[in-house]
Symmetry: C2
């Protein structure tokens, strides 16, 4: 999670509205494919866009002194707040709440047992006050106890219908159009793009390929343990209620090494949770670009940074200034936020 607090601790705060979970037909956000000669159309003609394009040219042109061979073109992206929105809570928190409500019928005791009772009521403040332990309980109750294939289907079913309570958009419609264009632009230039998120690895994989064009093997996230079993002779992987890895802060370079085995040359984040990934990317001899997406657009999206309980961007903003990392100003650098306007 993009935060300096334990996993999920701040997952649910700041929520003041209820949840809408309508059952309407699925509509996935699809990146408009920009023309190769006019990349990044949703980025304004600013110094930011120029710097990104200049960097990519500099490392991909064969005769450039900064040329990077194609197999070393690794670009890593945080997800929450970098590829899609994360306010008023990480979107995975909405999944948790919806699942608790769905499962409540099988757990009548939840109507009076915290933190489940608050989750069922949609009282996000009360949930947050249950602390790390309460949020871990909610996570395990909704993410463990089924096979990986069952969980995959549960996420697919949910992501196809659930909507953001404020925008009325499906969560996958709240991905950033400029970042979809950037992913496509980097892929077209021989980069391998990876998600490196504090969110659940198996929460992202069911839709990341369709929405971002990033296949499951290039999605890295937090995980619970799984266990191999034969059930009636058929092999299954069962999701176990025990944390495996928290992919946040100093965990991100560790997971990047474990999954990718190479150091990224580009990294994109938006919070202090991405600081170590950005350091790991920028402080090397190879040419590199470390980028922070700064949420500055209260009108079209959300504006937050240093004091935000979700997506806190404080220390990393200071270090970005010291190190000369690129800071994307969403308000001035992007002419479009989502693939389509909200409430269409």
């Amino acid at each position: 999670m993009n935060s300096n607090k334990p996993l999920f601790t701040v997952l649910l705060v700041k929520i003041t509205v209820g949840l809408v979970c309508s059952l309407i037909s699925a509509h996935q956000a699809i990146a408009d494919q920009p023309r190769v000669d006019q990349p990044l159309p949703s980025w304004n003609e600013s110094a930011t866009k120029t710097a990104i394009i200049d960097f990519v040219r500099r490392v991909t042109e064969q005769d450039s002194p900064d040329f990077i061979p194609v197999d070393q073109r690794i670009a890593t992206f945080d997800n929450d707040g970098t590829l899609w929105s994360e306010q008023p809570a990480y979107f995975q928190a909405f999944f948790i709440i919806d699942r608790v409500r769905t499962l409540a019928a099988q757990h009548p005791q939840w109507s009076t047992q915290e933190p489940f009772a608050s989750a069922i009521k949609g009282d996000f403040k009360a949930i947050a006050s249950s602390g790390h332990q309460g949020l871990l309980e909610l996570t395990m109750a909704t993410h463990a106890g089924m096979t990986t294939e069952q969980f995959d289907q549960i996420v697919k079913d949910w992501i196809g219908v659930a909507k953001h309570p404020q925008t009325g958009l499906r969560f996958t419609e709240m991905v950033y159009q400029p970042m979809l264009e950037l992913l496509a632009y980097l892929n077209a230039n021989g980069f391998k793009t990876f998600i490196v998120s504090g969110g659940g690895i198996d929460f992202m994989r069911p839709w990341a390929e369709q929405v971002y064009g990033i296949p499951p093997e290039r999605v890295i996230g937090s995980s619970i343990k799984t266990k191999y079993e034969l059930r009636s002779g058929q092999p299954v992987l069962v999701r176990v209620a025990e944390m495996n890895f928290v992919n946040d802060k100093a965990g991100k370079p560790v997971a990047i090494h474990h999954h990718i085995g190479r150091r990224p040359v580009m990294a994109f984040g938006n919070s202090d949770g991405d600081l170590e990934m950005l350091q790991w990317t920028s402080d090397q001899e190879c040419p590199s670009l470390a980028v922070i997406i700064h949420h500055t657009d209260a009108e079209r999206e959300f504006a937050y940074d240093r004091q935000s309980p979700v997506g806190r961007l404080d220390q990393a903003l200071d270090i970005a200034a010291q190190k000369g990392w690129m800071v994307v100003d969403m308000k001035s650098d992007w002419n479009r936020i989502y693939p389509r306007p909200s409430n269409d």
Copy 2:
């Protein structure tokens, strides 16, 4: 490790000869690229070769009822005994012994302290008798305590010069030519090939791309923990003397899910350590091919199966017969073992 015993427990047994660690110029094994219209030239024209080619055609031809979309063409390969030899001990054991000898100058107490004293002497029987704990000590003493970049260089330096004590070949020259051709053939048909080995993930990555054409992000193996640190302001990942994951037996499907997030449609192994990976691959609705490499050629390589301390193939051979898994008979199915004959 390909065994039904704890990690490294049988790593060193059966060794009766000393180690040769000559310093001669590097010569990497390179797969001859077969012509697309005549794939797998080092495979004899047997039912095995026909079945592999038929399977690949069946799942890649657009109008086939068994067509598998390109993004789902995942093929996983064990390493020790499947892509390169593993006798008389896993080749990583030779690395450990050579490292202990190199490091002994800094640890004078090792000359009398077990299991190091036996390692320095090259007394593999005595090492094996130190049991799991002794072998874990040797592993940590040689694999931990440095940065990931330092370890990468140590492995590269070693693999460039170390030689197998019996064949006189470099270890990377003891890869199987028929398997190199198979990897190339599958890549040409849109498959993503992954190594899924009990061997160390960071022991394989430094040379797997050059030797097998498999990039670091598609190498999965056993691992120790790493820790992110800033040293004089520079970020490093430090290898810590604590196991992270043992990628053997039921761990293989777990790691496949964690790293790849998809179920393989082809899997290749050679021992009981690969049984669960083969089950996980074969027992699904999607068309699949599970393959066991059976070491039957004492003259050109090694002959072993049910009772072998290294690469024991017992239960998996029975299940292969029940399930109809393909069993490759190295002696009759392969007209060539290594890229070049030994002792050239």
